[in-house]
Amino acid sequence: MAQKQEEVQIVPENRVYGRPALLTDRVMHYCPGCSHGTIHKLIAEVIDEMGMQDRTIGVSPVGCGVFAYNYIDIDWAEAAHGRACAVATAMKRLCPDKLIFTYQGDGDLSAIGTGETIHTCNRGESIAVIYVNNAIYGMTGGQMAPTTLVGMKTATSPNGRDVKLHGYPFKIAEMIACLEGVRYVTRQSVGTPAGVRRAKKALRKAFENSMEGKGLSFVEFVSTCNSGWKMTPVAANQWMEEHMFPFYPLGDIKNE
């Protein structure tokens, strides 16, 4: 009898967490366990909590995140590969009252789009740049990225990344942190509940900076690509902690 009384009633007043209002019903195309889904959720939550749905424009990249516009219910532009920061620059200059952010992967932002990224940072555009670094090209099938760790095997570094052949993994967050126009640089991850909570605060800060015209905010998400890494999602999260975090340490890099 007592046991039965303690059964939680599934009613709206008992609901403490659920699907964010700004996520569309569409099932995401991402692989099981992919960090993109969690990051999308955080963006949807923060925009909703800030009451900014009607004043936000996102810029999606080329890469796995290309279809972000199918999942978060805001206005979006899909940029050419690497050019999201240039697209966002014009949007913010022309619509300074809008929340403008880019959503880019490591290939998009730190390979083909390095020039646009760095100059947008240097101009101090008041946008938020969301950078998903999973050290591999996911959408094209697991090729080496600028951020691929030394020794890491990918489709184009089948024997592991060799610095003589491919150079060193690229830490663009540290690089842009030294630019005057950049206000906030932080590195986060969404593999654990605590990590997700911290990442959400970082995202909120980046979005608030954008609205306050405080210059550019850059939020890197050290992420997994379990399909590309050829691991289960749980193993990928563990591998990320053991191998990615030592090279890409989490926390604020610049916070002015």
């Binding site: 099932v27 969690t38 997700v196």
Partner: protein, 77 residues
């Protein structure tokens, strides 16, 4: 004194069986099903429902936002 109990409702057709929620649950509530959903994924379910405190850790890490969390206070004797 009051005791807090939780429960989760998982949209099993949206679940891709990544298992991240299972390992993130501090109370060992969740497990993957032996059956599969319409997409062929084993899905997460409450294998040990009485242990749930409604902390929402599972839902927070869920990449597919398919977990809703409920919490209720029960008076203790």
């Amino acid at each position: 004194m009051a005791k807090i109990r939780g429960a989760v409702v998982i949209d099993k057709e949206r679940c891709k069986g990544c298992e991240v929620c299972v390992v993130s649950c501090p109370c060992g509530v969740l497990a993957l099903s032996t059956e599969v959903n319409g997409k062929g994924y084993a899905y997460s379910y409450m294998a040990n429902p009485t242990a749930c405190t409604g902390c929402a850790s599972c839902a927070i890490v869920c990449p597919d936002s398919c977990i809703a969390v409920y919490r209720q206070k029960f008076p203790t004797e």
